[in-house]
Subunit: 637 residues, 2 copies
């Protein structure tokens, strides 16, 4: 069992090798040494403290799913003509915008009405979490509880598989293909399949050869000239020449993977076909996007949350992106947007595009405050933002991060060539979301969540930062190395949009992926494709991702429907849409409906009861630290 | 490495556990103890003897690919109006038809002109092969040579990967999607995807509810009545209610897998929708088949060789099947047929449908001799047979086979309730193909090959019988347990149409499948789907099969193109079609063309040279048994 072997590597207890992927790790059952009541109390208190810390940040940034959906619902009732607000905003602390009631209040020295935790507080809280998850008794306890959740699942399945199947067959119309699935982690630039991209480029080269498409060295080149300069004809274009698939050479080579985004290895072609802001105003990329959206719409039950980039190199990126989306009418009921901000300050600095890190943050967030104050200041952006559900942060997590002394410099004085660490990026995203969302909620505008890439590679500290600041994450495969944090992710039901086929190509071989172990333990896991252009082969990448998982781990149709349900729960689609997809009472009661999800009531109850009991155990333990709370005493439902 | 662990289980040499699927099994390099010249000579002679035995049967049954394609080419030049032949046929030896020049020659007691090896000779030869592959020195030698082929491949790849990729990019137009792929092992009744079958049934129920479709207990029922009797409405129909997917319950339960062929677990629905011979003359199944064929044609580069059943329960099965194909015009350039004969004599006997085994053989083969003598006796069969490329034999190989004493009874006296063993079925198929093909060749008709299911489960003896009698096989996963036989399959380049996703559901978990090890060693392996209805999830089952293999084993695009090329080589499509797909000189010189296969010249040369040298080594060893032939002396190309 993958997850156990990996847990084991963080644990001092000697463990045997389990040969089959399905065997029960019986030799490790002894791992739970009898703990003293004091120790149990300590464990309970620390875990609760960590959960309270997360709650603080999620509350301040208005990221709880309930709050998020409520705001969105209010926002949709909002009339279109919104006047300018009298509130004013300013970057009071470096890197974080604050909002004041009005100019006078600000001039009078009143506090801003937006509440944002300070960076100092954030790093202290982060340290607290890091200390907690590396505490011996807490690690042992969490490891044991995860084993218990796994064993309880196996027992549940042995006893209920038949009944579940019967219940599932009774649900009319629904099956794996007729339940809603959201691809919650997919990059727009990689959403098209290889075969379709090759065909698209070929068609353009044949039908619009003389169209000017790019400027190079002061010269405007036509499409034909570009291909001629690359010594390529339409007939040469194939998947092989495009060479965008993450083949075996990409394993542990994120740099190679990044350069695979260039068709035929040529940045020109990427600029012409895959960019929103170029000589042809992103027209080709808009056409590609429409094709992709139309395929989604035809599938009827597949949705996607596409990532598009805001780099933070200049202040007009938002307006350009919004104009691209609005002018090309890139709207679909099946699609919502996430903004990905690459962590590339060091590159921009080295090439002289920015002075310091504050400038990056200003470029990323200032337009959002401006449009919140006065929608007419960026009318297209205002329209676009209604379909934006949140922020992501992306780049190679395995890059080494330079450790600073005790304190990191503020963004205004971060002008060295080195890149801020992941945790620092997280803070400033969350902090600006606090003030932005608080203001937008007052204004009746939809708010945004933070759903970063975390735990794909690199330092597991990233996952602790995400625990405090993010509503949900992408990947999270490294959680398997940190049982206490994995346990906290379970307790908080933090969504994980996982892409085992992507991991298989880049960081972790399929058979070692912890997806199935997470699923058994009851984490809120869903499958997503990440980048069909690089990883998938069929015309149905999301189904291919489900197929691989189902066949390799022998998931049942019910398991897959549960994952699909999770993908809806994690997503940023509106409350009324979620009600339609997974249950009429869903956002209010958190109770999905069997008739819409095709997940049998028994399974839904098992998951809910198990989680409730686990929360109960931790709470009681913190209060009493009593031996009577020994986990084995928890009865099965 | 899967194959090594499994080889190891048949070997006396203690071996270590190799933890990663890609590690080099260095600890076993010592396995090749220095052999005495006498021993080497013995090994060489025995291996050559086995190969000569195979050649004898393949020659007599006209199954060499070269011969097969030549006959087919002559047959296509044949005019349509063929007169009755004056030759006459008769079952002289029980179970095997013989053909005489004419009635007089037969009456005069002349020998038949058809040459068929006797069953006694066959079983002696089979014993010879079985003895050889269990001979100690031969096992050691084969095991070592397979290790060597594997190591040589790894070395080749390390040194040539870059050059191969460059060569592959130079091939215009071609890539994985634009090279021809034959699904060489797929059952027609399972060729439709689940989603399409559910949709088809739903549409029929809504548009033709009052059509009489089946007779039960003397009553003719309409489609609506059938569904009412099952308590099903159109809205209930989903993948879940159909329940035809081989979910986890099918592992090592071939019986469960077999019953999964019944939609909603109901044999009535199977009869109505999935049978060629029923109350509606197989009309629904013909419509389904047309849909499947039309999807294939749209894919342009995908072909299929569909299995349809002849049971041998009655003499008119052939005419009914042929009428179904011809009347419904089920012809496609992308499709050829194979006849599968289920090994179910014991069932027919128990239910009183046949007297003895000879009757089954008569039912299967007599109409073929009749139509060869006089095409006008079965005109539709004559037309159908032009698109039939060969025979398959199917059933659960893992069923225990009752061993007989020294000799098996002849078919005419095989009237007990027990089923003949696999090897016996093989003999009678091959023996009748000898006389049938010899006659058909003289007549200028196309001939047939034998491509049985072998080595999916059960006794590895099946693989030895197939080694003697079959042109190619399906599955062959158990070859990994018999290194000497695996080595012979390599030397003879016997095609293996493998379906790792099917194996994963039924008999062998994906990570233990030897497909990748076979591929590295240079066996003639291709990927096939077996039964998309039961195993696959996307609308492109064959691409899904390739995708899974490529992602799990990290095959390159070139590797996949080589597998696609192998699938064409193994297939029964006509020579001119093969020339078009893989190279203008292909059938004549066995040299595929890089421009059509997208397999780089370097790879083609590596495979050819490696095989030639290996054949050379064995030949020289047999002649000289000399130490100078120590395999390590073979230079790399």
């Amino acid at each position: 069992m993958t997850v156990d072997n990996d847990f084991a590597s963080t644990r001092p207890i000697p463990t045997g090798h389990t040969s089959s992927r399905n065997s029960i790790p019986d030799r490790r059952i002894r791992a739970m040494a009898v703990m003293a009541p004091d120790e149990l109390k300590h464990v309970g208190n620390e875990l609760l403290a960590c959960m309270r810390l997360r709650q603080k940040y999620i509350d301040l940034s208005l990221q709880s799913m309930h709050e998020y959906l409520k705001n969105m619902e209010q926002a949709s009732e909002q009339s279109n003509g919104v006047l300018e607000d009298e509130c004013v905003f300013e970057m009071v602390e470096s890197g974080v915008f604050s909002v004041f009631e009005n100019q006078k209040a600000k001039d009078d020295g009143q506090e801003p009405f937006t509440k944002v935790p300070s960076i100092k507080e954030y790093y202290m809280d982060l340290d607290y979490v890091l200390d907690t998850i590396s505490d011996g008794p807490i690690k042992t306890w969490a490891f044991h509880r995860l084993q218990y959740l796994d064993a309880r699942w196996r027992l549940y399945m042995l006893l209920n598989e038949r009944e579940e199947t019967m219940q599932s067959k009774m649900v009319p119309h629904r099956d794996l293909y007729n339940v809603c699935k959201v691809d919650g982690h997919i990059h727009l630039a990689s959403a098209i399949t290889q075969a379709n991209l090759a065909r698209f480029m070929k068609t353009k080269l044949m039908t619009e050869p003389d169209r000017p498409v790019i400027v190079r060295d002061g010269q405007t080149l036509t499409l034909k000239q570009v291909f001629e300069s690359l010594n390529l004809t339409a007939d040469d274009l194939s998947i092989d020449t495009l060479d965008m698939h993450a083949h075996k050479g990409a394993f542990h080579r994120f740099d190679k993977f990044n350069s695979s985004f260039n068709p035929v290895g040529q940045p020109q072609l990427r600029e012409i076909f895959m960019k929103t802001d170029n000589f042809i105003d992103g027209e080709y990329f808009a056409q590609i996007t429409k094709e992709v959206m139309s395929d989604l719409e035809q599938s009827r039950y597949q949705m996607a949350e596409y990532r598009v980039s805001i780099y933070g190199r200049s202040i007009d990126e938002w307006d350009k992106l919004a104009a691209w989306v609005v002018d090309h009418k890139l709207f679909s009921n099946n699609v919502r947007w996430l903004i990905q901000t690459p962590r590339l300050y060091n590159i921009y600095k080295a090439s002289g595009q920015v002075e310091n890190f504050e400038q990056v943050l200003r470029n990323i967030f200032q337009p959002l405050f401006e449009v919140t104050k006065d929608p007419s200041s960026h009318p297209k952006l205002h329209i676009f933002l209604r379909r934006v559900v949140g922020f992501d942060t992306v780049d190679d997590e395995s890059k080494p991060e330079r450790r600073m002394h005790k304190k990191y410099p503020l963004p205004c004085v971060w002008d060295s060539e080195s890149n801020p660490p992941y945790t620092y990026y997280c803070y400033f995203t969350m902090a600006n979301l606090c003030s932005l969302n608080q203001w937008r909620m007052r204004r009746g505008f939809n708010t945004f969540v933070f759903r970063p890439h975390a735990g794909e590679a690199g330092d597991t500290e990233h996952l602790s930062a995400a625990f405090l600041t993010a509503q949900a994450i992408n990947h999270g495969i490294l959680l398997r190395k940190v049982p206490a944090l994995l346990y906290l992710y379970y307790m908080e039901q933090i969504g994980l949009a996982m892409s085992p086929l992507c991991n298989n190509a880049l960081f972790l071989e399929y058979e070692r992926n912890p997806f199935d172990a997470y699923f058994r333990c009851g984490l809120n896991v869903a499958l997503s494709t990440d980048a069909p252009l690089q990883f998938h082969f069929t015309k149905e990448p999301l189904v291919e991702e489900y197929s691989f998982a189902a066949q390799f781990w022998k998931f049942s149709s019910i398991d897959m429907c549960e994952m699909a349900m999770n993908s809806v729960i994690q997503s940023g689609f509106e409350a009324e849409v979620k009600r339609h997809w997974i249950g009429s009472d869903y956002p209010e009661t958190s109770q999905p409906d069997t008739n819409r999800t095709n997940v049998p009531l028994r399974r839904l109850q098992y998951r809910a009861t198990t989680l409730e009991q686990e929360q109960e155990v931790v709470k009681k333990m913190a209060n009493e630290g009593s031996d009577t709370l020994h986990p084995d005493h928890v009865v099965f439902c």
